[in-house]
Symmetry: C2
Subunit: 419 residues, 2 copies
């Protein structure tokens, strides 16, 4: 059987390690040149496929591909673009198959979160209806860690390591300042619905009483009175209080605390809950507060990536290729935990139909009784995911990240497609 | 001559490397045990001296002292507490000498910024008036890099490396997202009056057009119309725009843009200018923005400290001891640059009278003609300060920072002193 080409694209919010998955895909594909011809990357995710804006990765050197393993962002551009149902957006799915046919694409790899896994599933369904032979494999990625089945989502471990490191460092700062100045420090952590990253901040505490003293998880309803009482208690016990707050915390009316704005897609654009909490604490408890919102910094901090996360991101990229050439489709490589300590894992296949559009929140047995912390079970789960350092190379004092040439492949279709 | 004891304390906002200076002081003092007996550290800066709350550092092991070199925060506690003039606060200065006399303190080391150098100077003046023999040596520290004479201030290089690394990483993220989503990213950088750290963000750009595209320096008056025009231009040229904004930018009325609150000392409590700018850009240019305020994270990020900065912080600590045992007083070890590339430096003495209370701002020849960037001269100055990595040890995936025992020395005075 002649080799057929592959399509790979990156989707959704990027991470410190999604390019490590790209590296895994591209390196594995090159090792199987008898079955996989060229790998075309979609410029800006699925949009690159719809508009036939395909990047020819075959012109990149092995060194350039290797450097993706230590480069944050999305080397081929990501997108916030969700395809609808096959019924509503049939023309888009037909267009995808038309482009794939024109470029003899026999392998479809889509690297993203829940929405992306849904897209990969629908592409496989549409291809079947149109009798177009293609292996569709999703590749997991999300800093939010909210994909089901897989033990964790590549991208999460590095964001978790970043926020736990940062809150430990800020706590050293606060402890030094608090006797005469600032008493409360608040760190805002990503995670619109799932509190995994906020929970990971608790790894900074080694002993009872160590900071962070309070977690505000999106899974737990925010009650102002209870929160203030908890801050007061921490101030009395420790002289200062370190708080990790999810951007997605909600009050008893189920509205986001920080829900002023909406993005272009109608999602509430979050960010900025800690200034509100800081004002609240200052006003009610009369103490000076500092707050930090790292935003993109937490999901792009490749300089403090988890080596475990980098390894897993790379491994799921490679596994996606292995699955595809083994004839599997509508699956996603999932990480399966074999043991907590030492952390042992392997990769299994998860059906996309069981992955797509299901959000994995913190289970209730991971949340402490008062709702402001995590349990030992949660610590056992989280601890291995941040382990190991995987520093990028540095040049002139800064991380030396790679940029690819991103050469566009010749178009084969006369028709344009507007997205 | 019998050995006399020393007093060391840390003051003002802490840094990633002020403990490296403490390490330098303590290690050098131990090497000169013929001249320096015990080193007492003030708990919470000068307040520890006033209240006779002295920490006996002699109980700490060499390993514990050595670990200070990789630990952020202030190991003995810092303070925001400024002594007034000798005329107004005479009782406080007399109390200091009383405490020093009780503990046979012959060496006074004060590690801080401009206010702290002023305190060290006044202690030396008061001691002279009271004929109390003591060598008073200031040790430079400030993330703001605003001390005069010294080539740079320990603490700055690490904060600079952190912000330049962070903005480079966030720019990779933004470049991936901008075709379909967020177009503008704003990073808020510390520096109430001096734009050194904001300027350092420009080191992330290697070539013309690289991000960050705009710096908002506190030395340059913020003009809304000019700022928006510059953002628009960047969006047209690059499709996205990365901005580093100093927390201290002011409008033409000389008021801080983010000047809602005041701290307990009547200083405007800054933080939160980028949410305002983000709203402005969204409203006027109609594009989606993200913003980050790292706050304490940037000054405590020991995990990404500059090796040059760590080395200098340690060296000024050692030099302070050398100066003191050589009989010098009312001086501060200052870093003198001998060449830019390779960066060569040594340590010279600066009279405290020329250091205290003088703020070194970005000179005009370091600021580009349009006010939104830096010149080649600025790059030559800044580049070596962020060079070299000096990773702390890690344990369980997180930096393994040291905590000292901080054992209190026996009080010798019956009188209490209220601060």
């Amino acid at each position: 059987m002649a080799a057929r080409n592959a399509f790979y694209a990156q989707s959704g919010g990027v991470t410190a390690v999604i390019n490590a998955s790209a590296c895994g895909v591209l390196e594995a594909a090159r090792e199987h040149s008898d079955q996989i011809g060229k790998v075309y990357a979609g410029r800006n995710g699925i949009i690159g496929a719809l508009t036939e804006d395909l990047i020819d990765t075959s012109v990149e050197s092995a060194a350039a591909i290797g450097a993706l393993k230590h480069t944050p962002g999305a080397a081929f551009g990501s997108c916030r673009y969700k395809l609808g149902s096959i019924r509503d957006d049939r023309a888009q799915y037909e267009r995808l198959i038309e482009v794939f046919r024109a470029h003899d694409i026999g392998f479809f790899f889509y690297n993203g979160g829940g929405d992306s896994q849904d897209t990969a599933l629908k592409v496989s369904q549409m291809a079947a209806r149109l009798s177009y032979p293609i292996a569709c494999v999703g590749i997991p990625k999300t800093v939010d860690n909210d994909l089901p089945i897989t033990d964790c989502s590549p991208g999460f471990g590095s964001a978790a390591k970043y926020v736990a490191t940062s809150i430990r460092e800020a706590a050293f700062d606060l402890a030094a300042m608090s006797p005469t100045s600032t008493k409360v420090f608040l760190l805002e952590v990503m995670g619109r619905h799932a509190g995994w990253a906020t929970a990971a901040c608790a790894l900074a505490a080694e002993r009872e009483g160590d900071p962070p003293h309070i977690l505000l998880l999106p899974e737990v309803t925010f009650v102002e009175r209870r929160f203030l009482a908890k801050v007061k208690e921490a101030l009395e016990r420790h002289g200062h209080c370190v708080i990790a707050a999810s951007e997605g915390i909600k009050g008893s009316d189920s509205a986001f605390l920080a829900s002023g704005r909406q993005d272009a897609f109608g999602h509430a654009q979050l960010g900025g809950v800690v200034p509100l909490l800081s004002d609240l604490v200052s006003a009610e408890l009369g103490c000076r507060c500092h707050w930090a919102v790292p935003d993109y910094l937490q999901r792009s901090a490749r300089h403090i990536a988890s080596a475990t996360d980098v390894e897993q991101a790379y491994a799921v990229g490679r596994a996606a290729v292995e699955f595809a050439i083994a004839g599997k489709s509508a699956v996603m490589p999932a990480i399966r935990r074999q043991s907590d300590a030492p952390y042992r894992w392997d990769i299994v296949e998860a059906p996309l139909s069981e992955v797509a559009n299901r959000e994995k929140l913190l289970p209730s047995d991971f949340i402490s009784a008062d709702g402001f912390g995590i349990t030992e079970a949660a610590r056992r789960y989280l601890a291995p995911l941040i382990c190991g350092e995987a520093y990028p190379p540095f040049k002139n004092g800064l991380p030396d990240y790679a940029k690819l040439q991103n050469v566009r492949a010749q178009k084969k279709l006369a028709s344009e497609f507007a997205v």
